[in-house]
């Protein structure tokens, strides 16, 4: 199975560093950025990113805004929201806006990895379907 390409977005540097190390140890390809704008830039640069883990509460551009932007520009990238607030409302808002799931901070690393795997699976399924559809379209055109 192809290595998962993951983008972590959080303003809390120590948290981000540690979790990056832990995830890398679990065989994930992790890039880490500290804000919404940087995340968008990173996504632009690195088209291979499949899943974004996004902190809801960040200075500047917050999680929800970032999510909206990501979904606008990269609709196929799955986003998992990470929240310090136990606000069901924000989570639900996030889901409505197209987030794959949400997790509460501090979260179990295994739970996070599982969620990421699920998200990647879904994304890859989507990609496959799209590829298939393209192929069908192209073959159909030829026929």
């Amino acid at each position: 199975m192809k290595q998962i390409k993951l983008l972590l977005v959080d303003d809390e540097k120590p948290f981000l560093d540690t979790i990056t190390k832990r995830l890398e140890k679990r065989d994930l390809n992790v890039s880490a950025v500290y804000g919404g704008n940087e995340a968008l830039a990173e996504l632009e640069n690195n088209k291979k990113i499949e899943v974004v883990v996004l902190d809801v509460k960040m200075p500047g551009m917050d999680g929800i805004e970032t999510l909206v932007e990501i979904k606008k520009k990269f609709p196929l990238v799955e986003v998992i929201m990470l929240t310090g607030h136990a606000t069901v409302e924000t989570a639900i808002d996030g889901m409505k806006l197209g987030a794959f799931d949400y997790l509460m901070k501090p979260c179990d690393i295994e739970t996070l990895v599982n969620k990421v795997n699920d998200a990647v699976e879904k994304k890859r399924l989507h990609d496959e379907k799209i590829t298939e559809a393209r192929i069908k379209e192209i073959t159909g055109r030829q026929a």
Binding site: E12, T18, A86, M104, P106, I109
Partner: protein
């Protein structure tokens, strides 16, 4: 606070006193003034009236007596003139004319007699045998001898009966005689006796020597009469009114009037008590009313300000309590915000700590530390860090939810739907714990205007608590809704379980924040206090009844407005 309360007490005290004094002044002065003026005027008028009345009476009667006397004198004088001009046999003349007088005037004239110069009554007509009686030494005869006519004082005389005599000189055939008539004392007496006022008011007549000329029923003693009258001051026809005091100290009224025809005095005497009896009765009544009025004023003056001040102070207290409540809720909101801030700030470091611990765990697995004797301790410590980190997380999350401005968007809610939703949500957990949730929902209950998510939070909390309580043995939860019969315009939600119940000693603490019976780390003690706050905010109330081993029942009252129901009805119709 202490100081302000004593200050306020002083203020209330002063206020009470001010009102009291004001009431006293405003009511006492006019009352006192009115009463005394009226009293004085009444006194004056009444005294005058009594005086006038008695004086008038006495005057009239003395005139009557005067008239009576002059009339009788006139009669006798007429007889005398008639006798002078008409020479008849004396005995026959007397007989004829006494009969005439008697038929004309009744029993006034007792007898008639003619007396010669020597004082011998040579002719007599009357009931007594007085022919040839010798009057030469009688006082009246001596007095009458040198006057054309004479009215005697009352005396017993020869016949031993009190009587008085009218004597008129007659000149016939060159001789001087005296025509004498005795006036019936009874007839004369009745004139005076008829003056009778009250119990003690009575009149009598005295002669120039101060001797009683009439019978007196009042028991006036001869000795006291002298002290009553000072003859020297009587002139003409004056009636004199005086207040005097007798030897025993009794006060009495004394009205005296001089008779015209004779040197007699008419005296009216009445005890002062008796004369002014009615007046004094009125005086007493006035005094009683005045005193009652004073008592009434005093009562009002001392109770009314007290009550008014009590009302004011209770209003003050209420507003103070309200202020306190406002401050309290403001404080709570501030604390909530503070707590949220702290919780959020702590959440991140805790997350980092947990992650770092996890990282060490990861690394431990990687390193070859099999021979390290403390490996087990490392793993245990890291696990502990993890557990405690999770505990922190739980607390901060609860704190956040306590402080968070929940979705308080207010909607018209049919609470039955909200309850059904919550029952469905907890269904899984209930089944897992052998708990059956029954609902008895009255579909008639009106819509209420509240925040649905807050209500759900409350109901969910109560259901969760009930399930927690019955975890070991399972049980039944019954949720009922209906319109309240006790509170007007309220609906009731009751959540009843047959679990172990809540012991009495902690029953009144369950709504306190941070009070929990759960094991350390299992509960924050905020659930019910959040519920309490939410229900309070809705204007409702929540109470709890519990019996150990029988179960616990929570009841929630939430007010609804009539207009909401009406609106809903209208909408349903349209």
């Amino acid at each position: 606070m202490e100081q302000s309360s004593t200050e306020r007490k002083v203020f209330y005290h002063i206020l009470t006193r001010k009102i009291t004094v004001l009431i006293l002044i405003v009511s006492f002065f006019p009352m006192l003034l009115t009463t005394s003026i009226l009293f004085y005027r009444f006194n004056l008028t009444y005294t005058e009236k009594v005086q006038d009345h008695i004086s008038e009476l006495v005057q009239k009667h003395s005139q009557n007596i005067d008239t009576f006397l002059s009339e009788k004198l006139g009669n006798i004088r007429f007889l005398a003139r008639y006798f002078e001009s008409n020479q008849q046999a004396p005995q026959k003349f007397l007989q004829k004319h006494l009969a005439l007088l008697k038929s004309e005037y009744g029993d006034v004239f007792t007898d008639l007699g003619l007396i010669n110069e020597n004082g011998v009554q040579f002719a007599y007509e009357g009931p007594f045998r007085l022919e040839d009686a010798d009057y030469s030494n009688a006082q009246w005869f001596i007095n009458a001898a040198d006057k054309p006519f004479y009215i005697s004082d009352v005396f017993a005389g020869l016949r031993g009966h009190p009587h008085f005599i009218i004597a008129v000189k007659v000149r016939s055939k060159g001789f001087n005689y005296i025509l004498r008539s005795t006036i019936n004392f009874g007839a004369f007496n009745s004139l005076v006796e008829s003056i009778h006022i009250g119990k003690t008011g009575a009149a009598f007549i005295i002669n120039s020597k101060g001797q009683l000329q009439t019978k007196s029923n009042v028991g006036v003693k001869q000795s006291t009469i002298a002290t009553m009258v000072d003859r020297s001051c009587y002139k003409n026809n004056e009636t004199i009114f005086a207040k005097k005091q007798d030897a025993s100290g009794k006060k009495y009224l004394c009205v005296t009037s001089m008779l015209d025809n004779i040197d007699w005095l008419m005296i009216f005497r009445q005890d002062l008590n008796d004369a002014y009896h009615d007046f004094w009765k009125t005086q007493l009544l006035t005094l009683v009313i005045f005193i009652l009025g004073c008592i009434g004023i005093l009562f009002v003056a001392f109770t009314l300000p007290h009550n008014i001040v009590k009302l004011i102070s209770s209003a003050d207290k209420k507003s103070e309590a309200m202020n306190k409540q406002v401050i309290e809720s403001g404080k709570l909101a501030t604390i909530g915000e503070l707590a949220a801030g702290i919780a959020h700030e702590i959440n991140n470091p805790v997350a980092i700590m947990v992650e770092e611990a996890g990282w060490i765990e990861d690394l431990l697995e990687e390193e070859d530390l099999k021979e390290c004797e403390n490996l087990n301790e490392f793993t245990r410590a890291l696990k502990q860090i993890n557990t405690q980190g999770k505990r922190c997380k739980e607390i901060t999350h609860k704190l956040l939810s306590f402080a968070r401005k929940t979705d308080s968007t207010i909607n018209d809610v049919q609470i039955n739907d909200a309850i059904k939703e919550m029952v469905a949500l907890t269904g899984q957990m209930a089944r897992y714990n052998n708990v059956i949730i029954e609902t008895i929902l009255n579909e008639e209950i009106p819509y209420i205007r509240i925040s649905p998510s807050e209500l759900q939070q409350v109901i969910l909390n109560l259901i969760n608590n009930a399930i927690d309580a019955m975890k070991t043995n399972g049980g039944t939860i019954i949720i009922k809704t209906k319109t309240s019969k006790i509170e007007k315009n309220h609906l009731v939600i009751s959540i009843e379980d047959d679990g172990p119940g809540i012991p009495n000693d902690i029953l009144n603490r369950i709504f306190d924040p941070f009070f929990t019976t759960k094991a350390v780390g299992k509960g924050t003690g905020l659930g019910l206090s959040i519920c309490y706050g939410i229900i309070q905010k809705m204007g409702g109330k929540i109470d709890v009844h519990s019996q150990v081993d029988i179960g616990t029942k929570f009841r929630i009252w939430i007010p609804f407005q009539e207009d909401v129901i009406e609106n809903k009805d209208n909408e349903n119709e349209s």
